[in-house]
Symmetry: C2
DNA sequence: CTGAAAGCGCTTACAG
DNA sequence: CTGAAAGCGCTTACAG
């Protein structure tokens, strides 16, 4: 049996109160007592029960995280920085990998509630009514990271997806492309579905280019879907000379599809992705991408949540909008009138 | 304030004992009482405190996981299946992403101890004395997944890395290659460092091929290191015609390096990886790889750990060796005497 | 079948 | 500066 505070007290010849005091770094303990207690702790290999502590302190130092898919390069990276930042602040993560399973998300939300996590980070925006209500009834601080659901009341840490998407499209146009394809996300997603599509559409319109629905497809952000949708786009009589995919994974799928058709990126088709995940450097040609500041996003997410947890009453929490950044690598090329 | 069991009891006009009984699905509660309690729970939105429960039950349903790097394609995938299997068994994960930081690992191990996690999964094998002692003193069931440290006492869920590596090398030889390069792991790692190297070496020797140290480098399993080491290997007067990298990430780095040198995979150099991560299908040419049964490995890991936690006394736990499987894709080619 | 009471391992007023 | 005691929110013998 692991030793408990009582054992330490007995061993040191003091009260449990005193042991608790030195454990929590309180002053008002005479040095010699403090020493005796410390020695007892060492000798017994005592480690205080976080469970018992949580119960009385009503604070678990736990953060629940809901992420769509930890095998995605974007989410694994942001999760990594979230974990690092949390750990540095002595918080631990409990992560729920939903994989499109609403049931699982509901179950985890219940678990988060039972576990009495101190805060919740959500990284998707497909909230049905049930989840929306549950999360609001929880009485636990929560925020969204990298997405912003329709509700204005929820706080998010995000980039301006509309502007980022607009910028990508303008970039392609400035390279001379006029036939620009689009592999979008789920249009039920406001942030990564609708906003990114609207940015694309408005940039085309603002430049006097037509919206060609045959050049436009919507996927699920994953590599496979990028591949499949690119195939459809390539089936056009006159396919686009550039394609913008709203996730790096889909962009890579699109690149692969082009390769599998015996065509070349960027010579035959330029490709640009979105996210700035490590995949961009792992493929050839290296993928140009609209980068989200992933590191910063993870840090700010945790810091904001911790501030919400501390509950500064004179602070009201609003969205944090981070800067996006287009990084041009080797998958985009100026259109020279060919082919 | 969230309602507590006492509130439910009052609301339903019964004792907390009775509430607890219906909560835990005990028989011996009259139907009408059961109904009243259930209604009270609903009306109050009551959710039992897992913290309080854990304290009395001495069971947290928490599993601590130590993983080298969650952004690696292999680890994120196995973590995903571990999470899934754990969740299905009503266990939750607390993951520590060490990123080579021994301090962080030590800190997390302390956290696991304080949290009173029910079990621990470790996915690396760089155990220094301190960590080795700590983990054994913890009195918490633990096992290793995908690696096996030197100590025979520790139980592991793994493949036979030596045999897998031997098979890869024989495969390359059977394709006609005689100059076979090797990008290994960390030789302090028994499983993924030493064993994989030995398999490579013995296969060459058994086939009467010499060990050429200029064809051999050791990296850190990551893409960048594969790229850098491949560069060194390519610097040979007569470079190898095939290279075996002991992780898919390094293999992709090697492929990229070859591409960046204006050479072609597999025409100029064949490349084969190790792990069978999703990266193999995300790159072009698609990467041939010695696949670990990642899904099964994750499941078996959790199942074995849960069995250890339940502590069946007539069961003694030993290593579980899973089957490896060479999957040939497009990055390997028979050597035809050229160039 | 039901409930009063002790106990899980801590922290923290409160009193000294 | 130090300690006895109550309390955090549950479960479970024990008695009825």
């Amino acid at each position: 049996m692991a030793p408990k505070i009582k054992d330490v007290a007995k061993h040191a010849g003091v009260s449990v109160t005193t042991v608790s005091r030195v454990l929590n770094g309180e002053k008002y303990v005479k040095d010699d007592l403090k020493e005796r207690v410390k020695r007892a702790i060492d000798e017994l290999g005592y480690s205080p029960s976080h469970i018992a502590r949580s119960l009385v302190l009503k604070k678990t130092n736990l953060i629940g995280v809901i992420v769509p898919d930890i095998t995605s390069s974007f989410y694994s990276t942001i999760l990594s920085t979230i974990e690092r930042t949390a750990s540095r602040n002595d918080y631990n993560l409990m992560v729920c990998n939903i994989l499109e399973e609403t049931d699982k998300e509901l179950k985890y939300l219940q678990v988060f509630k039972q576990m009495r996590v101190d805060g919740i980070i959500i990284m998707h925006e497909k909230l049905n009514e049930e989840i929306r209500e549950l999360i609001q009834s929880l009485d636990i601080p929560f925020l969204f990271s990298s997405v912003k659901p329709a509700d204005q009341e929820f706080v998010s840490v995000i980039i301006d997806d509309y502007a980022a998407s607009y910028d990508v499209t303008r970039h392609l146009i400035s390279l001379g492309h006029t036939r620009i394809g689009f592999i979008g996300g789920d249009m039920r997603d406001v942030t990564s579905g609708q906003n990114r599509y609207l940015g694309y559409r408005d940039a085309l319109t603002d430049c006097g280019l037509a919206i060609v629905s045959d050049y436009i497809r919507f996927g699920d952000y994953k590599t496979q879907s990028g591949h499949a949708l690119m195939k459809e786009i390539l089936a056009n009589e006159t396919p686009p000379t550039a394609v913008f995919a709203v996730s790096d994974d889909m962009a890579v799928g699109a690149m692969n599809c082009i390769h599998d058709h015996g065509l070349k990126v960027p010579d035959d088709v330029s490709i640009i992705g979105f996210d700035g995940s490590q995949l961009t450097e792992q493929v050839r040609p290296r993928l140009s991408s609209m980068e989200q500041p992933i590191l910063e996003m993870g840090e700010v997410t945790v810091e904001t949540l911790l501030a919400m947890i501390k509950g500064d009453p004179n602070r009201t929490f609003t969205d944090v909008i981070l800067q996006h950044n287009l990084v041009d690598r080797d998958s985009c090329k100026a259109y020279n009138g060919q082919p």
